[in-house]
Symmetry: C2
DNA sequence: AGAGATTTGTACGTATGTATG
DNA sequence: TCATACATACGTACAAATCTC
């Protein structure tokens, strides 16, 4: 396993660790809901410090791939049921990361952006992992 | 200034530092394009370690509020010109964080999500800080 | 153009706190 | 109760990019 990490590469070691885990998620080797090995285990496996593993996990959490909470293993984020939002003609849809207040109110996890739908008067914000916008058109 | 950080609060110190800077950005005290003080300066100002400042900056970078690069001060991200994307009726719009490959190809900064527009056949991905989607109106 | 100072990035070490199982 | 596991926070050191003179 140690061959997978090159300490002399231009790419940072913690990014290399993130790359390996990201690929394992993409390939299905780590399925949705699966727990990662403990940080300490990963650190030993790849021959790096705990901090490096922690930094790699932060990267993947901020990509929306992992759910991390204290006291339990990091888990591959499950795909959530998506609610389809109907938007009227002339509505505009944009995206950004939520503020901490929005994350609390909408119960949005780390690494999940929000969808913002603006019509003539109203502006509504949706959790990006549970919503998608359907553009209604026609007469 | 030290009164702003409570080392005995339930809220983590690095989150408190992030809160202070976030509020300075929101209030305009730190304008778009403005450089933050050096990490070392902030650490002294708030009576915390360098790592705490670094962690706070990572939080704000991942919220899309700061641009950070080696050798130069962190800067408040400037609002970018937005290109309006016309989408046909029945197109669906969703959002997520980009993969590293997408970040490279579309030149997307840290903390910036992508907009995904799917019509019957095509799926197109746009940088979330430079694009918004407009539904073309009816007849 | 070049040298040196500044600043952030990365990596490792250590310790303590707190939630989970 | 107890062990496990992650979060936080202090420290140190060096590398690499940028800026200043």
């Amino acid at each position: 396993m140690l061959e997978m990490i090159d300490h002399h590469s231009d790419r940072a070691v913690y990014q290399q660790v993130a790359d390996v885990v990201r690929e394992q998620i993409a390939s299905g080797e780590l399925a949705a809901g699966a727990a990662l090995p403990a940080f300490k285990t990963l650190a030993l496996r790849y021959g790096v410090g705990i901090d490096v593993v922690k930094d790699a996990v932060v990267v993947l959490r901020n990509e929306g791939l992992l759910e991390v909470s204290r006291g339990r293993r990091a888990r591959v984020r499950s795909v959530r049921a998506v609610e389809v939002i109907a938007a009227p003609p002339h509505a505009r849809v944009s995206v950004r990361m939520p503020t901490p207040a929005e994350r609390r109110e909408l119960k949005i996890g780390e690494g999940i952006p929000v969808l913002i739908v603006r019509s003539d008067r109203a502006e509504t914000i949706y959790a990006g992992d549970r919503s998608e916008v359907l553009l209604q058109g026609g007469p």
